[in-house]
Amino acid sequence: MTDVSLRRRTVKPTRAAATLTYHGILIVLTALYIFPVVWAVSMSLRTNENMFHADQLIPHPITFEHYENLFGILPDFGRYVLNTLVIAVLGTVGTLASSSLAGYAMARFRFAGRNVLLLLLLLTLMVPAQATLIPQYVWFRDLGWLNTPLPIIIPLLFGSAFASFFFRQYFLTLPRELEAAASIDGAGPWRTFVQVIVPNAGPAYLALGLLTFVQLWNSFFVNSVYLTSQDSWVLTQALQSLVGRYNSQYGEIMAGVTLVSLPVIVAYLIFQRWIVRGIAMSGLAN
């Protein structure tokens, strides 16, 4: 590239101009794109008098009164955080454990029905959660599990079709020499899996773990079916409850939005590469 541009000196200024235009346009576009998020955070920090002023992108003065009010409207906020965390953490751990086992078996072991299982898993990606929800709702109600996180966590302990397929695709890319070396050392399949395969599949666990965690943290539909009593709510339900009742209190609503989104944004900023890679891998899986 540099050679070419040195030889064709006349082209250089126009190319620089093109690059500059490109970055100029993209900076404006991405700034506009992220505007709603920035504006929401900004609104949560404004005084009520300044709420609708266009020059308040960076609030002056900054106030935290809306956050205080929010904890007044939702005194159990800490509880909602805890409820959400319990579901997201246990659900993620369960999905990773069961699905990585299934994915590994489908990638490496030969057993009758393996391809049928794979096909069934792919078919279930098509089944809407709503079509399996109603009988489960009746069962969990009869077990007395409504308003507990159990109806959401227990099914996840048995893995998810998407995650198992994801792990299968990943394990297919690992070299078989890993197992060969372990079997020379006399390790059985369980020890090989735990001591050799899992440590070598870090990227897959991290990527899928992050995706699952974020998805569970953000979910609303299933929670709103099972968790109807207010002290069993998760964060998205608490946030949703503000909308109808406190429509005009934008500061408080945006404070809620910011608090619910903040952990995910922080996780995204730290693990951006892994989350994006996980998404890209999930696309290639098909």
């Binding site: 057993f111 089944v127 009988p135 009746v138 297919l172 696309g283």
Partner: protein, 341 residues
């Protein structure tokens, strides 16, 4: 493997190989056991049981459901709300899915070239995708506010009469589609960039030398090569669009909560929202668990039908052969099959 087995007499090999194989199969079954139990208990059985419930009437208060034959299905065919929610969902698919695919592809084409900072641009565009649809919906509810919302203010500042967005039945679903498109572009962009990175640069260069312009290069070289990604995104985003729920709740619910969502004038009521309200008897004329189960099965059937049509069309139009991903995959498959025995 073979070097270890050659010294043994032939019979011994066979016996040993078969016992090895049963042991391998047994381990395999143990490994997939949790997932298989999950598949049966939380998808297979409920799917069938759901169909069973669709032939019953139950308010969840009576001790047991009452068998009513095809009543729910007959009621569904006569319920004027059903074509209405199908139409609303269809409108969302038409607007939301199309714009999602189109803008994701455009964003990918703009940012996939290896220039400086493209990673930063992509990271910013991806951010909304990791946020909750409820949180994002609440923010966009404000964006669409007709009194002091940013969109209205900007449009009116440049002299355009702003539509009434979420307050007008004609534009409410469009507003929701704008929000979901905005949130989803980062995801589509990521997959398209992954697909585009598989397009061999020399091929595009060769076409350029042969005199193909940008448009020709896109439609005759790039698009066929990324058609597997287009197909994957179309199938998955349509499945998701059929289940639209969270954004509608966040953007249209009233003080009555979810029961008040779907307005104005029922213009954003989707299949799943209707099913949800039926399940919990929320202000609906015909209601109950059985009717909700029938609606859920209609949704499952519709999903299956639309996906099957896409696969039938896709088989004829997708170009898999030269794509680097699929070539890599078949090579990998060949390798794993060789090493099995």
């Amino acid at each position: 493997m073979s070097s270890r087995e050659t010294p043994h007499p032939r019979r011994g090999i066979l016996r040993r190989r078969s016992s090895l194989r049963t042991r391998e199969a047994r381990t395999g079954y143990l490994f997939v056991l949790p997932q298989v139990v999950g598949l049966v208990a939380f998808i297979g059985v409920p799917l069938v049981a759901s169909l069973g419930y669709s032939f019953t009437h139950w308010d969840l208060i009576a001790p047991a459901p009452e068998f009513v034959g095809f009543d729910n299905w007959a009621a569904m065919l006569q319920d004027p709300r059903v074509p209405a929610v199908l139409l609303n969902t269809g409108k969302f698919i038409l607007l939301g899915t199309t714009s999602f695919l189109l803008f994701s592809l455009i964003a990918a084409l703009i940012t996939y070239t290896p220039r400086r900072f493209v990673g930063v641009y992509r990271a910013i565009i991806f951010l909304p995708y990791v946020l909750s649809q409820i949180a994002v919906g609440v923010v966009w509810r404000w964006m669409f506010n007709t009194e002091s919302g940013p969109l209205t203010v900007v449009l009116e500042a440049v002299g355009i009469r702003s539509p009434d967005w979420l307050l007008d039945p004609a534009t409410a679903m469009t507003s929701i589609a704008i929000m979901t498109t905005w949130q989803g572009i980062g995801y589509g962009l990521t997959l398209f960039v992954a697909g585009l990175s598989g397009v061999p640069e020399p091929l595009i260069e060769a076409a350029r030398i042969d005199g193909a312009n940008v448009v020709q290069r896109f439609f005759h070289i790039i698009l066929p090569l990324i058609s597997p990604t287009v197909f994957f995104l179309t199938v998955t985003s349509l499945i998701g669009a059929l289940q639209l729920f969270d954004p509608v709740v966040a953007m249209t619910s009233s003080s009555a909560g979810v029961a008040g969502a779907g307005g104005p004038d029922n213009s954003t009521r989707t299949i799943v929202l209707y099913m949800y309200n039926q399940l919990f008897n929320l202000s609906e004329a015909k209601s109950g668990l059985g009717y909700a189960a029938a609606l859920a099965w209609m949704l499952a059937f519709l999903t299956f039908l639309i996906t099957a049509i896409q696969f039938a069309v896709g088989r004829r139009t997708i170009y898999y052969e030269a794509g680097q991903q699929s070539r890599g995959r078949s090579r990998r498959r060949a390798r794993t099959e060789n090493t099995h025995d």
